[in-house]
Amino acid sequence: MTTPIDLALLADVQQLLFREAWLLDQQRFDDWLALYTEDATYWVPLEQQQASPLLTSSIIYDDRVLLEVRVRQYSHPRAHARRPLPRTCHQVSNVLLLEVQPDELRVASNLSVVEYRLERQRLWGALVEHRLRRGPQGWGIVSKRVDLVNAESELHGISFLL
C-alpha cells in the first residue's frame, strides 16, 4: 500500500465492526439495527461471485423494512426456529480499508461464527464487505455483503444473523 494508513480511521472502523458483532452475540438486535442507515441493505448471496440480488435468489437480501421484520420475529414467543435463539460467537478479522472517501468507506473483513442451538454446533466462514457512510452520529452501515464460503452447499435452516 502506497498511501499511509489512517490509523485513527482504521480504529474507528474496527470498533464499529467489533461492536456490530458484539451486539449480535449479546442478542441486542434493536441496537444492532440502529447501526444501519434507513436505506441500508443486508445481503447474504446464494452463489459465489453473485452479481445481482434481484435476478438470483439470496440466502438473505433485506432492505430496512425486512430487517425490521427479522428483528421483530426474533422476539416472538412462537418463532419456532428461534426459540431458543441460536447462541453465536462472531469473530471479525482481516479488516481492510478498500476504498476511503471523505464520507464513504468500503471495508473488507473476514468473519467466523460459531453457532450453537439445540445440541448442534456449526462453524461458518465468510468474506464480508461493508459500505459505511458518515452521518451525524458517526459511521452508519449502508450495506453489508456476507459471502459464506459454503453458500452453495446443502444447508439446514439459518435462524441467526451473520
Binding site: 435476478l55 440466502i59 423494512v65 425486512l66 421484520v69 426456529a81 446443502e154
Partner: protein, 441 residues
Amino acid sequence: MSETPVFNPRALVQPDRVHHSVYSDPAIFELEMDRIFGRAWLLLGHESQIRETGSYFTTRMGRESVIVTRSASGRMQVLVNRCTHRGATLCQESKGSVNRFVCPYHGWSFNTDGSLQAVPVPQGYGSDPAKVFEKLSLKRAPRVESYRGFIFASMATEGPPLKEWMGHLASSFDDLVDRAPDGDIEIDGGVFKHVYDGNWKLVLENHLDGVHPNYVHISSVQAANAAPIPGTPEKYADISLRQMRQNGAPEPVWEAVGMWTTDWGHGFMGDYHSDSRLVVGLNNPVFQEYRRRLEARTGPAEADRILAVTRWNSIVYPNVSFMSQFRQVRIVHPLAVDKTVVYTYNIRLKGAPEEMFKDTVAFSNVVNGTASWVLTDDLEVYARVQQGLTARQPEWVVIARGVDADVPDEHGTLRGSTGTSEIFIRRQFGAWLHYMTQEGA
C-alpha cells in the same frame, strides 16, 4: 428384487391414520427407495437446462446421483453417475458442457449418451474387447419423458406413461407454461438446497396444508403485519410482506380453497389465489404490460382463460412441489429415513417483463430461502415431528380431517370436502401402498 418384506405395508396404512414407523423405520425407508423412488416417475429438471448438445446437469433419483444430458444425437439421456469399471462417481459438477465424461480413477471415458468411448490398456480384455465394452455403457434410466419441457425419468422398465400417470395434475404444468408470453419457460436464478432432519414425506404433507400457516408461521405473520402496509408504489419488500401476511388468512379463507387429488398421490390447491391478493394488482403497469404480451400470442379470450386459473401449490408424488403464481419448483431428495434435502428452482416466463422474474426471485427468498422467516419455521417443525415420531406410543398418526367426505369431481379427480381436508395426505398414502405392495422392480 426378491427380498421378503419384514413388515406388511397394508397394516400400516388405514383410511384415517398411518403407523408412525412409515416415517421412522430405516427398513421401511430402504424399501421406499427401491419400490417408490426406484419406480415412480421423478422430476429431474427442465429442458432449458440442457438446450445444447453436450450440455448436462446432475441431480438425484432417490439417493442416487444421475447425469441428465443432451447427447450428440440430440436425445435426452439420464445416466447413473457411476463408472461401470470400479464404481467412482464420474461427474462432480452440478452442470456444464462436455464431449465426454472421463473417470478420474482409470480414465475410462463415456460419450454423452452413456456408451463407453475408450478404455486404457484395452488389450487386457481378451481377443474381442469391443464386445466386452459394449456391455459397459453407463446405466441409463430406462424411461425418460418430458411434459411441457419438464424432464421426468423412471428407473422401472415398465409402468404407466407419464401423461397417464400424472392425470389431471398435468394441467398444473399447463397453467405454468401457458402463462409465458413466448409459450416457453426457463430455469434460472440460483438453487436453494435446504436440508431438514425429517422424513421426505413430511414436506409433501405440508405444502397443501391450509391449517399449519396460522400456527407454524404465526411469528412471521405478526412480524409482517407490524410492517408498513404493502401497496403503491410497489416496493422491494412488498412481495415478502404480502406472502408472510397471507399465511395469516383467517380460517374461512383456507376452508374455501379448492383441494383436488388424482390417482398416484398427486394433488393441488386451486381457487386460492386472485392476482390481486399477492401481487400488486391487475392495474399494476408491469402486469398490464405482461398481459399485453401474453395477448399478442394468445388473443384476449385465451389470455383471460389462462389468467383465470388460480392454483397455488401442486404436488407430483413422490418428488415435486411446484407453483405457477410465483413460478417455483421444489424437488425433494430423500437422504435417510430422517434426513431430506429439497432443491428449489426459479422459473422465468419467457417474453414476460423482467420485473416479474424479480418478483419470482424475491418470492423464493421469502418462501424457499435457507434463512427465510417462513421456511425456517417449516424446517423446524419437520424436525420436531420426526423427533416426536421416534416415540413408539402412540402408534398412529392421524390424517382424518375430512375423511369419508371426499367428492368425486371432473377429470377423474377426487376433491376434499373443504380446503383444509387431509385428503391429499390420504391419497399420497394410497399411492404409497400401491407402490409398496408391488413386489419386483
